[in-house]
Symmetry: C2
C-alpha cells in the first residue's frame, strides 16, 4: 500500500533545496524512494557573503553534495541553478521537462530579522517571496499538469495573541451576529496577524493559495511551521560533506540553536526583553518527516487548501534559556528586544493533523540538545562571535539585542 502511494507520487521538485530545510528534505526524500530534483539560486549562500556570516558547519558546494550523495547511495538528485522569482520561463520549462508529481516550495527569504534590516531588505523580501510563490502557481496552471504544491509557511501567520484559545489548523470556526439577531456560522482562514515583513509575505502567500485553489483547482498543502531546531538528520550524517547548514548569526540563527551554540562557545545566552515570548518548535528530523507525510496525504481534486500546523511543542523563551543554562552552566544575559512585539504571550496550538498521519514527535527530552551542542563545539573555531547579537530592529524606536556590561546576567 505504501509502495503504491510512492509509485503514484515519485517525482518531487524541491524549490530552495540548498537551504536549511530544503537540503535535508531532499536527502530524506531521495533516501525514501522519491526521484528528487532541486531548483535553487543559492541565494542563502549569497546572503552569507553579504552578512559576512557563514554556516557554522562546513557546508559543501551543491556539486560536491550531489556527487557525494550519489557515491554513498547510488541515487542521483537533479539540480537547476535558477531564480524562480525572476526566471519564470526557466521555471515553466523545468516543470514541463521534469513533470513532477509534487513541488515542495521552500524558495523564500525566511529570516524575520533580515527582512527588517533596511528598506532594501524589506523590499527584497517582498519582491522575492511574493513573485516566487506566484510564479510557481502560475507555472503549475500554465503547465496543465495536476501537481500537488507543498509550501513551507510559518506559525507566525497566526500572530502570537491567542486569547486563551487553541490555535486551530488554518481555519477558524466563527459566528457572525446579524442585525436580525441570528448567528451565521462560517469557517474562515484564520485572521492573519504578521509580526514582521517576512511573516507578512507568508500571510499574503495564503491569499495566493486561496485564490489559485478556488479558481484553478490547484491542490495545495500549506505547512505552518514552528521554529526549527537541530541541524542533522540521519542522511546528512552519512558523510561530513553532506552536513546541513547551522546558522548562529543574529539574523538567521533561530533561538534554540542560538542558545545551544552560545553555550558551546562560551557566549552568554541572549534573551530578548523578558523572554516571556512563547513559541512553537519542531526538530529538523520531524520537519523532513512532516514533508513526506504531506506528500503522501495529498488533498484530492476539489479540496480546499489543506493546512497543517507543523510543530511538536511550545516553550517560553526564558524557560528554554534556563534549560540550556542548567544543562551547560552558561550565563543568561537579558538584552533589549529588537522586535516590536508583546513582552509576554501564551500560545496553545493544535497539531492533530500530523499526529493523525503518524508523526511521532521528537522533543527536547529526546537527548538531541546535546547533539546540537556537540556539533557547535566541533566547529566552534569557525564562529565569528561578533555576528551573534541581533542587530536588526523592527522600528527606529527598538534597540538591538546586544549584551552590555550593565545588563543583568545569571547562571
Amino acid at each position: 500500500m505504501e509502495n503504491e502511494k510512492k509509485e503514484k507520487t515519485n517525482k518531487v521538485m524541491i524549490l530552495g533545496g540548498d537551504g536549511f530545510c530544503g537540503w535535508p528534505t531532499s536527502l530524506h526524500l531521495s533516501n525514501h524512494g522519491y526521484d528528487v530534483v532541486i531548483v535553487d539560486n543559492l541565494s542563502r549562500r549569497n546572503i552569507d557573503n553579504e552578512l559576512e556570516a557563514g554556516s557554522l558547519t562546513p557546508i559543501q558546494p551543491m556539486g560536491v553534495r550531489l556527487r557525494v550523495w550519489k557515491e554513498h547511495t547510488g541515487k542521483q538528485i537533479g539540480f537547476y541553478n535558477s531564480n524562480i522569482a525572476k526566471e519564470y520561463e526557466t521555471l515553466l520549462q523545468v516543470i514541463q521537462r521534469e513533470r513532477p508529481d509534487v513541488i515542495v516550495h521552500f524558495a523564500e527569504q525566511r529570516s524575520a530579522p533580515y527582512s527588517m534590516k533596511s528598506p532594501r531588505h524589506k523590499r527584497y523580501t517582498v519582491d522575492n517571496n511574493l513573485n516566487a510563490t506566484h510564479n510557481v502557481l502560475c507555472a503549475i496552471v500554465e503547465s496543465g499538469l495536476d501537481i500537488h504544491l507543498v509550501h513551507l509557511g510559518t506559525m507566525g501567520v497566526y500572530g502570537y495573541g491567542t486569547a486563551g484559545m487553541k490555535i486551530p489548523e488554518g481555519y477558524l470556526d466563527i459566528e457572525v451576529p446579524t442585525e436580525t439577531g441570528e448567528r451565521i456560522h462560517q469557517q474562515i482562514l484564520y485572521p492573519a496577524n504578521p509580526g514582521s515583513i517576512y511573516h507578512m509575505t507568508k500571510t499574503q502567500d495564503q491569499l495566493f493559495f486561496y485564490y489559485y485553489n478556488k479558481n484553478d483547482g490547484v491542490r495545495i498543502t500549506d505547512l505552518h511551521q514552528g521554529i526549527v531546531w537541530g541541524t542533522n538528520i540521519p542522511e546528512t550524517m552519512q558523510d561530513e560533506r553532506l552536513i546541513n547548514r547551522f546558522d548562529y548569526d543574529g539574523d538567521y540563527g533561530t533561538v534554540l540553536n542560538r542558545f545551544l551554540m552560545q553555550a558551546a562557545v562560551g557566549y552568554p545566552l541572549t534573551v530578548h526583553g523578558t523572554g516571556g515570548q512563547t513559541r512553537a518548535f519542531i526538530h529538523i528530523r520531524d520537519t523532513v518527516r512532516c514533508i513526506q507525510l504531506a506528500i503522501e496525504n495529498p488533498p484530492e481534486q476539489g479540496d480546499r487548501v489543506m493546512i497543517f500546523n507543523q510543530m511538536t511543542e511550545t516553550h517560553r523563551i526564558r524557560d528554554l534559556a534556563q534549560l540550556v543554562s542548567e544543562l551547560t552552566g552558561a550565563p543568561i544575559a537579558y538584552v533589549p528586544d529588537p522586535r516590536n512585539e508583546a513582552a509576554e504571550n501564551d500560545l496553545h496550538v493544535k497539531n492533530e493533523l500530523f499526529l493523525s498521519k503518524g508523526l511521532n514527535p521528537t522533543t527536547l527530552q529526546d537527548g538531541l540538545l546535546e547533539e546540537v551542542i556537540e556539533i557547535a563545539k566541533r566547529y566552534a573555531d569557525r564562529a565569528d562571535l561578533s555576528k551573534i547579537p541581533a542587530t536588526s530592529t523592527w522600528t527606529k524606536h527598538q534597540q538591538p539585542g546586544i549584551p552590555t556590561l550593565e545588563q543583568p546576567m545569571r547562571a
Copy 2:
C-alpha cells in the same frame, strides 16, 4: 474651520494621476485649493497601445493637460514620469523633495479581465501592484514624514457571497466559540474572497496596510470602491483638452459605461451569463468627492487603518441592461460569462461612513446616464467595435463573452 483643515493638508501627491480616476481627482483637488503633484509612468496609455484599444474620448498627453489646466485656472500641477513599482529611489527622492501631507495611491493595474488574459498579465499585475504598494509604504517610513496614505481599493475584496448580511466597512464583528463553551468577541478584517488576480492583489494590499500601520504607525485610509461609471466631472469639462478617458473595450470598459457606449453606437448590450450578478456602483463625480472627504477626515496617529466603502448604490447587471435598453431601445445579448463566478448573488453594503462625512450621492436617477450616452455618441467614430467583446477568460473552461447568432437577444 474648513480652511484650517486645508492648510494642514495642502500638498497632495497623486500616484497614478494620469488614469481614469487619478486625472479627475487631480483636477478636483487642484481646483479645491490643494497643491497637487502627479507621479505616473503612463502605463495605462502603454496598455492602450498593447491592446490596440484607446480611450473613446480624445485624451491629451500629460504635457498638454497640465498646460491647459494652468491656462484656465492659473494652477500648476507638478508631474514626475516614474514607475513606482520599479524605481524606488526616485519615489523616495520625490517624497523627500515634495514633502506631501497626503499620498493618494491609484498606481495599480486595475482591470480584472486584463489580469486574467495570460500568465504574463497575471504576473505583471502581481509584480506591479504588490511592489507599487509596498514601495509607497516603505518610502513613507524611510522618509520619516507623517504622511496620510489614501489608497483606492475595491469592493471586490469582500467577494460577492454575503449570505444575506450587510457588508460592513472593512471590519467584521465575530464571535469565536471556545472549547469551554464561552464566546470570544473580536473585530477582524473582513475575510477576503477575491474573484480575480487583480482583486487578489487588493486583498494582499490590505495586509501591507495592516502591517505597516501596526509596526510603523503609518496613517492609512483604504477605500473599497464600487464600479465607477460616468466619465467627466466639472473640471474635466472646462476644455475638451482636459477630458477624462472613457474605456469601452472588453478588458477596461466597466459594465455600466460599456452598456451606455454599446447603446450609443448600436451594438447589443452584452450581458454575461444570466446577468444575475449584483454589483456596487459610484459615479466618477462622487469618487473625487470621496477622495477629498478621505483627505479631510484623516485617521489620527495611533488609529488602525480606516476603511470606507466608496459606493452609492447596488444593482443587478440584467436590471441595468434593462434600464439602458428601455432608455435607448438597444437590444440585449446574453453571452457566456467569461468569469469563474456565481451566476446570481445578492449584495448589501454599508456606506454610512462617507454619508456621515457629508457625501450627497449621485445616483442613476440624476440624469447622468444621458450625459454618458452623449459623450459616447460624440466620439462614436473613434470606436473600434471589434474591441467591445470580453475575450479574457478566468480559466480554460470559461468561454469569452462574445455575442453569436445563436444567442438570444431582446429589446
